[in-house]
């Protein structure tokens, strides 16, 4: 493992230690460690993936399989805000399609794209497990429930106020 690639903050280092002691095999730490790495670095680059494989003593192929199987791991830099519009049936029954059209028009991007300023990225995702308060939009790790065009509009206004990208 090259230490420069996995330069962790102190808290992350502590979290890593506690992950490592929670499982009987090192490979079992892979998902939690990838989450940790993604929180630390924003995404999981190929060198980082390789370093994680080295850290956990697993073949690179395993890391690649895991990274490409699960949807929550990003292998490229992401926008500051990743907007995930739930397209599950319950949300779709209650106006998700209109929300998506609104977002596309407002942000002038298509699904899977990022605004030129790197602030927003638009995605559709499968049921987020929040159907009781449909339609649901998840932005980064926060759930925004019972969304309407108006509400979503003010959420975006609020988010647009901050700095474009974190330092």
């Amino acid at each position: 493992m090259s230490p420069e690639v996995l330069a962790f903050s102190k808290e992350a280092q502590a979290e890593l230690e506690s992950i490592l002691q929670a499982y009987p095999t090192k490979q079992a730490c892979l998902l939690p460690v990838l989450h940790l790495v993604q929180r630390e670095f924003g995404y999981i680059s190929d060198p980082v993936a390789e370093a994680v494989a080295g850290l956990l003593d697993i073949p690179l192929a395993v890391a690649v399989e895991v990274l490409t199987f699960y949807t929550l791991f990003a292998r490229r830099p992401q926008a500051k805000y990743v907007i995930q519009v739930c397209r599950g049936l319950s949300c779709a029954l209650l106006g998700q399609e209109e929300l998506l059209v609104y977002l596309k028009n407002r942000l002038k991007i298509k699904e899977g794209e990022m605004t030129p300023d790197g602030l927003f990225e638009l995605k559709t995702v499968e049921c987020l497990g929040g159907c009781g308060e449909s339609p649901v939009v998840r932005i980064n790790e926060t759930y925004y429930e019972l969304q309407t065009i108006d509400r979503l509009g003010s959420v975006l206004n609020e988010l647009s106020k901050g700095p474009k990208r974190e330092a």
């Binding site: 699960y70 929550l72 319950s90 049921c127």
Partner: protein, 428 residues
């Protein structure tokens, strides 16, 4: 008003329901005191068997019976895995337990582990539910400090460590062997059975996988007795369950109701009826994998056996109501797309069949389908039924077949009119 029985949700109306203090004040951790080191594990399993507690993750398998598959004495460490993947569209109940009463789950985990002889348990939480992981993490810390977890719990000589494991965005990891693979740090591809997890599960050791809600029921069962629990429910379906109600209802949400409560009562009394009081067109009674019911079928009692009897299933208890004006082809396409997106990809019928069905449905829904497409769809669904490693392929095929059977005219109208006759000018 009917008598309200709240077991899992009894503290939900309190703001501090998630704290150890509230939980202990309301009878929490009493079952542990009663059972640990005092009642033999075999008797615990017997009690759970008699309670008619059924697996609430989807399959409805009798929990006590499942526990008895762990051979005793175990030759290897036994693991208990708690399934908090909550991925079935229309289901949002386990998250409420994890956030609003995490100690109930932890006490259940403790009791189940004691019964199984497990000394390590993992709670597998769907990756998006970071708030559940946080809540569980805090509760585990609290429980540890209070001596409910760790070594020699309440001086009973019993040890248990509980860990929270994050999923990473894959519905299939809710399937128990996929969950095991995922926990081991691999893609969540279900395993061929045999061997069953109770024999070879996680890390090559005997393993029991149970749903969050199932396990959260255990403390009250052991505290109040199997008979009390069994009596609350319906025949062979003990206790209550959390119904997640969504779609076109006035009051969507999670409702704790006795097993066997009629679907009509859930929809029209608890959930307040259909938005705008328009007629119901169809309802999914047990998560997206359950065959759909027509309005004339909603007097069914909501338990595993009664739903199975009318050709549907209890599943995850996720109820999705669809009012008149909903295009059933569109709704089915939505589901097929979900399954195609979530197929793990290993079985040829599922990998190819889910995607193929989705494409044929897209064609029909877009007005480009032909009459033979309807038969093709039926053939695809039948072709992938009962031929795969895990039931995800069936979970896609069953709804397809039921929609085709119950709303066939609507599919035919799409083909005939070359457009959607129900919602002609839908947003693109």
């Amino acid at each position: 008003m009917k008598k309200v029985i709240k077991i899992l949700t009894q503290n939900f109306d309190r703001d501090d329901s998630h704290t150890l203090e509230t939980y202990t004040k309301t009878g929490g951790y009493q079952a542990v005191r009663k059972v640990l080191g005092k009642i033999a594990p075999e008797s615990v399993i017997e009690e759970v068997k008699r309670s008619n507690l059924r697996g609430l993750g989807g399959a409805g398998f009798p929990t006590g019976m499942k526990w008895s598959f762990i051979s005793k004495p175990p030759k290897k460490p036994v693991y208990l895995l708690i399934n908090g993947d909550e991925g079935e569209p229309g289901t949002f109940k386990d998250r409420t337990i994890m956030t609003r009463d995490p100690h109930r789950l932890i006490e259940g985990v403790l009791l189940a582990s004691y019964a199984l002889g497990a000394h390590a348990a993992y709670i597998y939480v769907r990756g998006e539910f970071t708030f559940c992981m946080e809540a569980l993490g805090k509760a585990i810390e609290e429980a540890k400090e209070a001596g409910y977890l760790g070594k020699n719990i309440l001086k009973s000589g019993f040890d248990l460590d509980v860990y929270v494991h994050p999923g990473a965005g894959a519905y299939i990891c809710g399937e128990e062997t996929a969950l095991i693979e995922s926990l081991e740090g691999k893609p969540g591809r279900p395993r061929n059975k045999p061997p069953f997890p109770a024999v070879v599960g996680v890390f090559g050791c005997p393993t029991i996988v149970n749903n969050v809600e199932t396990i959260a029921h255990v403390p009250q069962i052991l505290l109040n007795g199997a008979d009390w629990f069994a009596k609350i429910g319906s025949d062979r379906n003990g206790g209550t369950r959390l119904f997640s109600v969504s779609g076109h209802v006035k009051r969507p949400g999670v409702y704790e109701l006795p097993m066997g409560t009629p679907l009509r009562e859930i929809l029209y009394e608890h959930a307040g009826g259909i938005i705008g009081d328009i007629p119901l067109k169809g309802v999914i009674p047990g998560g997206s994998s359950a065959p759909i019911l027509r309005p004339e079928e909603i007097d069914v009692g909501m338990d595993f056996d009664q739903l199975a009897k009318i050709g549907s299933m209890g599943g995850s208890g996720g109820i999705i109501a669809m009012a008149e004006g909903t295009c059933m082809v569109w709704a089915l396409h939505n589901l097929a797309r979900f399954y195609a997106h979530e197929s793990c990809g290993q079985c040829s019928p599922c990998r190819e069949g889910t995607g193929w069905a989705e494409k044929v449905l897209r064609r029909i829904e877009g007005g480009h389908g032909t009459a033979s497409d309807i038969e093709l769809l039926e053939k695809i669904a039948k072709g992938m039924s009962a031929r795969t490693i895990c039931p995800l392929a069936d979970a896609c095929a069953l709804p397809i077949l039921s929609y085709l059977q119950k709303y066939r005219d609507e599919f035919e109208a799409h083909v005939r009119e070359k457009r959607c006759p129900v919602r002609p000018k839908r947003a693109a």
